[in-house]
Each structure stands twice: as C-alpha cells, then as structure tokens.
Symmetry: C2
Subunit: 300 residues, 2 copies
Amino acid sequence: MIAIDWGLSSFRAWRLGADGAVIAAMAAPRGIRGIGPGDFAGVLEELLSPWPGAREEPALLCGMVGSRQGWAEAPYAPCPARAEDIAAALMPVPGRQGSFIVPGLSCRNDGVADVMRGEETQILGLLPALGPGAHMLCLPGTHGKWAVVEDGAVVSFRTAMTGELYGLMRTHSTLAPVMPEGDGEGKGEGDGEDDAAFAAGVARAGDAGGLTHHLFGLRAGVLLGDVAADRLPAFLSGLLIGHEVRALAPEGRLVHVVGAPALTGRYARALALLGRQSVAHGEETAALGLAAIAHARGIA
Amino acid sequence: MIAIDWGLSSFRAWRLGADGAVIAAMAAPRGIRGIGPGDFAGVLEELLSPWPGAREEPALLCGMVGSRQGWAEAPYAPCPARAEDIAAALMPVPGRQGSFIVPGLSCRNDGVADVMRGEETQILGLLPALGPGAHMLCLPGTHGKWAVVEDGAVVSFRTAMTGELYGLMRTHSTLAPVMPEGDGEGKGEGDGEDDAAFAAGVARAGDAGGLTHHLFGLRAGVLLGDVAADRLPAFLSGLLIGHEVRALAPEGRLVHVVGAPALTGRYARALALLGRQSVAHGEETAALGLAAIAHARGIA
C-alpha cells in the first residue's frame, strides 16, 4: 500500500510492504494549497507516477488533505484515541477504491476545543518506541502540539501557534523592517542559529510584562542600539519558544520532541535551558503511524 | 503658537493662546506615512492653510514626526523626565523659525529598552489633573503604554504591542479567514462591542497554556462549532487585553486610562473584570502637554 502525509505545503509518500516496512519514499513541495476541489485525484496520480503500479494500490492519506480545504473532509475523532479508534473513523477517498483519509483528532482542555490533523499519525508511529505508561510529546511547527499519550492512546493535547506567530512577526509586523533577510517560517537554516541570542530570548520569556511587552522590546532594543538587527531572528525564536515551553512543558517530565532536526534541536535547547530533559525523534514516524492505522483497519 | 500631534496615520493641531488655552482645533487623516523626506514643510503649510497667519507662528510638534521616518529625528530623552527635561531636549525644525519637535522618551526595565513617541505629551498634559504623588497610567493603542508618573516626572513605562498583534491576527493570521469583515485595528465601532464575548476572552487569558495556545483555541473553537465566527473579534480583543492587563496592571492600584472612548471603555471593562479600579481620560490632553512643554521652553 501507499502511505501519504499531504499537508498544506508539502507531500510525502512511502511505499509499504505487507509487513508495514518502508520499501520506497518520496517527497515533493506540492502541498494542498492551490489544488482545486476536483483536482486531487489527478495530482495524486501524477505525484505517484514514478512508482509503477501505484495507481492500483490502496492509499492511506493523512494531514490537511482531510480538511475542509482538502480532497474530502474527515471529521475530527475525539480523544482519547487509539489506532483502532482512528481506523474506525477513516473517510473513504471519493473515487479511489480501497483508499482512505485519516481523520484529525479533537480534544477539550478546560472546556476549550483543540484540534490536530496529521500529527496524530506521527504520534501513533512513535508509540511502540515509547512503550507503555504515560508520555509527554512535543511536535513543534507552525501550530505546535504538546500531547499526552498513555498506554497506546492520545489522551489530550494543546496547540501553540508559535511558528505562525514567528512568521507574522518576521514578515508582517513593525519588527519586520528591522529584521535581516531570511525565511519567514523560522524552520530554515538561516534563523535561530545564533545560540547566544536564542538563549537570551528564552531567558527573556521569564521576565515580567508578558509576551506582547517582550515583543515590543525587540523593536525598542534595536532603536536604542542595544540589539544588533542580525541577532533579532534568533532572539525572537528563543523568546517565543521560551514562552511556549514555560507554559506547556510540565516540570520534571521527560519531553519527546518529534520533527525535523533543525526544529527539534532548537526545542531541546530551550527545554534544557529551562531545566527540562528531552529526547529528539525524527519525523519519519508518520509512515509507521499510517502502517499502524492500516493494520488496525485490515488494509493491505 | 501651534501645537501639533503628528503620528503615523493622523494629524491633529491646536491653535493655542498666550495662556496655553485652545483657541481652535483641527484633525486630518494625514499621517507621516507616505510623506517624502523633503515634503514635510509643504504638507504642514497646506494642512495649516485654513488658519490665517499660522505660517508665521511657532509650532511645537510631537509624535512619529520626530522619528527616523519623520521630518527630523529627535533622539529619545531618558526617564525620569519632566516637562523641563523634554523642553531642554527639543529638536529645531529644519527651516521653520522658532519651531521644535518634541523628543520621545526611553527607559529600561530589567535592563531592557523601551521607547515612546507622542504619548509623553499626553501624559504631561494629564499630570496637573492627577496632582502630586505616584500614579499608574495606561495609554492603549497599537503599541500601548503603561507608565508610572511621580511628582511631575515620567519615571518608567512598559509597552505592549497588543493593538498591533490584534491587527496581525485579524488580517494576516490563519484566524483571518474565519473572521467576519471589520476594521483591522480593533479601535473602531464594529469590533469588541459584544460584551459577553469580550468578557469570555478576558477570562480565558487567565487559563493555563499561554497566549499562543489561547490564540489557536479560537481557530479550534470555530472548527468544532463551539464559537460563532461573528463573536471572534470581541473574544480576541478580550483575550489580548486580558493578557496585557494581567501582566502589566499592578494589583490594588488605580489605573488612569487615556485615549479615545471606544478603546478606554474596553480597557476599563477588562480592568474591572480583573478587579482593578480605573478612571478614563480623553486623548485631548496632548494639547495641554504641548502647552506645558512650550511654557517650560519659553515659547510663545
């Protein structure tokens, strides 16, 4: 079968053997953004064309492809959710025999809604490596997730829009004109590599005044010559991640950070600076999670 | 003389008598944004043309007109600052006899820089009404100020970019597509008038998880049908102001809120919901402040 993680800005696919092992992998900068409602089937066959016979294989898709803007909307499954619960809630792909879209998850904290779409698959893929008991996971990103898993179930989670806020500050705010050139996502190579500025941002998050006060301080610091403009991106990254970690990482608990190395490394640094222990995991766990869901559903 | 508050997006002027009393007032939507470096003199004469003889009168200008993007840069004067300190640091207007630009103020809290430009004049104008002793002032806006004044001096202040963050969320974030039409500044009539949603936002600011988590909750709430989209602007306004007030309003201290009624009313509501007492003041105190500075300098 074919396992696919199709997000807003990227497409990743894995060809899986009968035992769930990865036979081949591909990635393309072809997210769902900009794909018209009726064009998903055609775009998918085009993307999979390097793999002979892929057209006839069942596919399991996760990510924003299952959102309102995607191929077909797969309503969120409520927490707590195991692989079996997600498998039971799969949404058939219109017009593609034996293929399904994975639903996202929803939960409520203090009565307030939260949602994820795509990360549930990465989490499920990581579970076998974590073993039984309760674990704290962090999946940083545009909308980063902090999830509690227990004995094979995603129990609850909280989202922080840290990555999105970073991009807004970097490209649209009054800080943008004083920032050096760079990528607006904060995920790339150029930003956040200044360890000292990053650490200063993490520390600043603990001062009085709150986030919106700390953000203005970057502008004031440049105006008064306290802060060099080329240190701002790393400082901003540290400030935002510092606020996120302080608010969402429970003290005294090991945090499993899942994602691309540039980003997990930054979170590991912030967690260490704030006295939290962490372990980093690669984001290829998505393929394992899709295999687990397929197995639970009896696909392939 | 002519007293002028010339900000990024608006121009306000008052014609003052020898005793500092306002003889006439005008306002125009003609901020410094978009005025070329050499064009300020011409634009000012055009704006003042309804007042016969204004061309020959000395003018005192405050606001962003004194920034790097303005007519001439007036370096920030350090806190603590009295009217006399500001008067001593006035910057002559190039090519306009007897006219000056008011410098902004700078200060440091926990060693971190903060700046204001324009608000110092409003604060000075309010001081006579407050009397001696220490007072806490709040001047909400794009970059809202919380200032401590004592016996005629601005002692220190902190800025929160609450208004700017509101605009970014309203117009550029992933919340923007689910928001109803409205002004992006959060200062107008349309937003923030839903008292119950505003109060719910203020209360939400006290929950666990931090601001970037609370912001994502608005999106999740709409996706799951918990929150009606037309209540989001008022909820967002309450959430951001709630975070600001919790972080910056000291408990047990009367807060003097200075600004336009729509905005000061919103802050007074948030302060009351969080158990803080407040008094609202109109923003016309800028004319009084400019008169005080002119008096200290011996102008007019």
